[in-house]
Amino acid sequence: MPASINDASSAPRNQSESGRPSRARPIHPWPLRLMHWLNAFAIVMMVGSGWQIYNASPLFNFTFPPLVTIGGWLGAGIAWHLAFLWLLVANGLAYLIWGNLSGHFKRKLWPISPRAVRRDIGAALRFKLPHRQGTYNAVQRLLYTGVIIAGIVVVLSGLGIWKPVQLWLITDALGGYVVARYVHFFAMAAIVTFVAIHILLVALVPKVLPPMIFGGKLKATES
């Protein structure tokens, strides 16, 4: 299927691993696993400290309970937020570069056709969407691409809030300082929603967890 066609376009394995016997490709190569867990850690820290900051001047009629905030007070919340900003951004940039250069995005996330999305959402809702290790169905492609976009928006709007004078171009593009705060909030909400669905699905299909830790092996028929 599409995955196998695209796989053939990547570098021949015999050449890259000269001398060594060819091994099965991992489901998740190590750079991806590393970046996945660094990202998970960064997201927990950024969301927890971000909620602490939100509580100092809530946009809506609610605050986050202290149990799920990080820092304990505004100053520490900001300190954590602006510290882990760098892990989130460096790791995110590494992921975007790696995803492009390695062909990961092309192979796994593209294309996304509306027809396939409709078909797979229908199948998912009828619990008839099988999980195929190593390839993503259309719903997964849509969600993974969506959360990457939400990640880019959350970083840009965050920069726009942090530096509305020096990075005014970003702030203005988002509609100004006040609007940028809402953009930042909703991008966060999108990411948190994604994480909730993501963790729920991993709980429903727990066999997908070990490959994200140990790599796993693609079945011979797929390579």
Partner: protein, 240 residues
């Protein structure tokens, strides 16, 4: 030392609880005299962020200005105490004290400050908490002021001490920014006590808490003097 170890153990157990999303509530700069591991990490990252912000800063990038109709009126009071506790400084006897790398350190009266060239701005004050207000301030551009009193503008810091015990300090490039003023008026009338009378720093390229009110003394030097909130963990540069 024992306390440090205890806190470290506490940190470790908190870190282990990370998965439960109850992470690190203890790491809150709660004891600046005894920084724990998390405090030291946050401190290092905050210094890094100071350097990044200094590199991003351009004295030619102006803070946005607004129209008179956008001014927040009445203004919003904010301090580390209630509005009823705001200090009242007698404008008749007020003297701004000058010290450090300044040639003419004779104290200056309000009349002397008012005799200098004034500049007006309608700018936005963004609080570290996230809210913002728009106001019209006018006063003496700090760059003009520093030149006039013969300050050594190659120094790193300009520090301020206030009537209420508040204190803060800013980097020299930000001090020389054209929109940084020693504000005397708000909306065309002299500042009132809760809003920084008789003189406050107005620096729209930084967050609100970097705009000390009721400034009693100003000093120029190369020794880092921190600030009331900065010493408790707020980022020192805090540029917008």
């Amino acid at each position: 030392m024992k306390k440090l170890d205890l806190k470290r153990r506490k940190l470790l157990s908190r870190a282990l609880a990370l998965g439960a999303l109850t992470a690190l509530p203890a790491c809150d700069y709660d004891d600046p005299a005894h920084p724990d591991l998390a405090d030291r990490f946050l401190h290092a990252m905050s210094s890094w962020n100071d350097r990044v912000q200094a590199a991003l800063f351009s004295r030619h990038t102006l803070a946005p200005t607004f129209s008179a109709s956008q001014i927040t009126n009445p203004p919003r009071f904010n301090a580390f105490y209630d509005i009823s506790q705001a200090p009242v400084v007698d404008p008749a006897t007020y003297q701004l004290e000058l010290s450090g790398q300044i040639q003419e350190t004779a104290p200056l009266s309000l009349a002397q400050l008012r005799a200098m060239k004034q500049e007006s701005q309608i700018t936005r004050l963004i609080c570290v908490e996230g809210w913002r207000v728009i106001g019209q301030w006018s006063g003496v551009p700090l760059a003009d002021f520093l030149k006039r009193v013969g300050a050594d503008t190659t120094c790193k810091y300009v520090s301020f001490k206030c009537a209420d015990g508040y204190y803060s300090s800013i980097d020299m490039p930000s001090a020389l920014h054209p929109q940084t003023i020693l504000a005397l008026d708000f909306l065309g009338a002299p500042l009132t006590p809760p809003f920084g009378a008789p003189m406050r720093l107005r620096i729209p390229t930084k967050l609100g808490f970097k705009n000390p009110k009721s400034v009693m003394s100003l000093s120029v030097g190369n020794i880092y003097t921190g600030g009331y909130w900065e010493d408790q963990g707020y980022n020192w540069f805090s540029g917008s």
